[in-house]
């Protein structure tokens, strides 16, 4: 008798849970559908206007703001010289390159010294934003190339290297680039165009990132776009299209862009100095910087825009093995939670408009709690099926609907990419992306949810400890792509 009641209650609980699960899937995917629609409209507009955007004029304009390109490097001897040369040959009226050699133990510095004929100069580096690691020496290139290399003691934090670079940068715009990012020739002008068009309001811009795996590169430039051989990377190609290209375009259009990738973003230097540069020891330092920028602008009641540029001009290698991918995703998830955590006033605050009322609640509900719901749903479904709490047929339908909705979003993203940038121009690539969009939902999605959950747990565990006391070897390339 008791047992029967228990079974009944349990089955009731499971029924309720499955309703919550259904609601969750519906809400998440529908929000994404809205984001993608907003992004598609915006992208279409961008495309039609492109011939008249006047970036050729901006290249010749004497008032196009000069840019300091900042590259933090830790043990990057293999690619650093090529990356540096690629930056110097970007199509841009005036730029300088600042490389921070953050305590490399390999030949990073020697390679740079030989390539650019570096010479040490005496320099007092102003402490505009706080740094921890001691600056050993400052070197500049002989000749016309405007290259500065800072050698500093490493504290194992990318943020410290970036802050040192911010202190030494001399131009009004800062471009943060990962040492292993591959930029297109017109990358910088495309991403600074919003500053040219709307100099009063634009304070930061972010560039779209795509996986470089499978592409052919020559001397630090992508010469032929290709598809990775590895399926994990192929799935990420679709993921980057859906989440980063369209998701961020959508958020940007809604005025609620929270993440500008550390792999490629441009900021106004004066404002970065005002907000004290990067938060030392922060895990999601790029999201954290943007969050504080939003806060700063709102506090000063200055109208501002943070713009995502959808044009694919920056390529970066994505993990092809599960262990590394897991570590990366764990950190993204943890970084995001910590960012929201350390800027609690933003959440649900009407003063921050769409960011406070839409984007951040979305991140909390779907990016942070999402994995919990998703995994619970998955486990519940299996348990419920095993004990016949739910009808097998019903569960199957429910599961199929959820997955099909996800697939539809991915295919929609592929469609939008096809009508807009169509960078994956071979028929083979099209088929491969379509298959990735299908396969993604079986296994990858569930693993991803688990990794993100791990990140959330890590963040909760460590929240009482100081974040600064976490020495690492080397940087993990950008926290967010």
């Amino acid at each position: 008798m008791i047992q029967a009641t228990l079974m009944l209650t349990l089955s009731e609980i499971f029924r309720r849970l499955s309703w919550i699960g259904l609601g969750y899937f519906l809400a998440l995917n529908s929000i994404y559908l809205i984001l993608i629609t907003v992004a598609a409209v915006n992208l279409g507009d961008y495309f039609r206007r492109k011939p008249f955007s006047g970036f050729q004029d901006a290249l010749k304009s004497p008032v196009t703001l000069p840019v300091s390109v900042l590259i933090p490097a830790h043990n990057e001897e293999t690619g650093i010289v090529e990356s540096a040369r690629a930056v110097l040959s970007l199509d841009y009226p005036q730029l300088e390159l600042v490389i921070v050699d953050d305590g490399s133990t390999d030949l990073t510095f020697e390679r740079l010294r030989d390539a650019f004929d570096l010479v040490e100069i005496p320099m007092l580096v102003p402490e505009l934003v706080p740094t921890i690691g001691h600056i050993d020496s400052v070197h500049i290139a002989r000749g016309l190339d405007d290259v500065t290399v800072i050698r500093k003691q490493s504290i194992g934090q990318k943020t410290d290297a970036l802050n040192a670079a911010i202190n030494i940068a001399k131009y009004p715009l800062l471009c943060i680039v990962d040492a292993d990012a591959v930029l297109d020739e017109d990358a910088l002008i495309k991403v600074t165009m919003p500053f040219v068009d709307d100099p009063q309001r634009v304070v930061a811009t972010g560039g779209a990132i795509r996986p470089s795996n499978g592409c052919t590169a020559y001397r630090g430039r992508i010469t032929e776009v290709g598809m990775p051989k590895n399926w994990l990377a192929r799935i990420q190609v679709v993921e980057y299209l859906r989440a980063f290209l369209l998701g961020r375009t959508g958020w940007s259009k809604l005025g609620a862009l929270l993440i500008i990738s550390g792999a490629f973003g441009v900021f106004r230097r004066d404002l970065i100095i005002d907000i004290g540069g990067y938060n030392q020891g922060s895990i999601g330092e790029d999201a954290d910087l943007v969050a504080r920028l939003h806060k700063h602008m709102k506090t000063n009641k200055t109208p501002y825009r943070i713009v995502f540029v959808s044009e694919p001009v920056c390529w970066t290698e994505v993990p092809e093995n599960i262990t590394i991918l897991r570590r990366q995703r764990r950190r993204w998830s943890r970084g995001l939670l910590e960012t929201i955590w350390s800027n609690p006033t933003l959440l649900m605050n009407p003063r921050y408009g769409t960011l406070g009322l839409l984007a951040l609640p979305y991140f909390v509900l779907f990016e942070i709690l999402g994995p919990i719901v998703e995994l619970t749903g998955f486990v519940t479904l299996i348990v419920a099926l095993a004990f016949h709490f739910v009808n097998f047929y019903f569960a199957g339908l429910f599961f199929t609907a959820a997955i099909f909705y996800g697939i539809l979003l991915s295919i929609l993203s592929l469609f939008i990419e096809e009508v807009s940038y169509h960078r994956y121009d071979k028929w083979r690539f099209l088929f491969q992306t379509i298959i990735s969009a299908l396969v993604e939902n079986f296994g990858y999605r569930q693993m991803h949810a688990y990794w993100r959950l791990e990140g959330v747990i890590q963040a909760l565990r460590r929240s009482d400890r100081s974040w600064g006391s976490m020495p690492r070897k080397g940087f993990i390339p950008s926290e967010t792509p």
């Binding site: 050729q56 290249l59 010749k60 040959s89 199509d91 009226p93 005036q94 000749g143 016309l144 020739e185 020559y218 001397r219 430039r221 010469t223």
Partner: protein, 123 residues
Amino acid sequence: MTKILIADDDQDIVELVNYKLTQSGYEVTAVADGKAALEMAREVHPDLMILDVMMPFHSGIDVTLEARKDPELSKVPIILLTAKSMEQDTERGFAAGATDYMTKPFSPRELLSRVQAVLARDV
């Protein structure tokens, strides 16, 4: 016959220059990127090179620098043809070792005169 190598990724410009120079009695070889430009230059030993600055693989400036390092090409006059017109771009071009610098939009007739002048100076 005087041999001229032209490298530009814009097919319209290549054809136009090619025609103009061929009509004027030069032997023209055309390529579309910086890598091909270097390879072709080493093969045909041109008497003059006309290079676009922004092109795939190697920029015109890179090709100039490479050519100057190559004993067989170091003396070949180079005209850079480019959309970049700012002072520091010109400065960079000449510092790399270019003989002359022309900005786009360009006049085909002017280019021809410059080619003739550069070749005359060289002889």
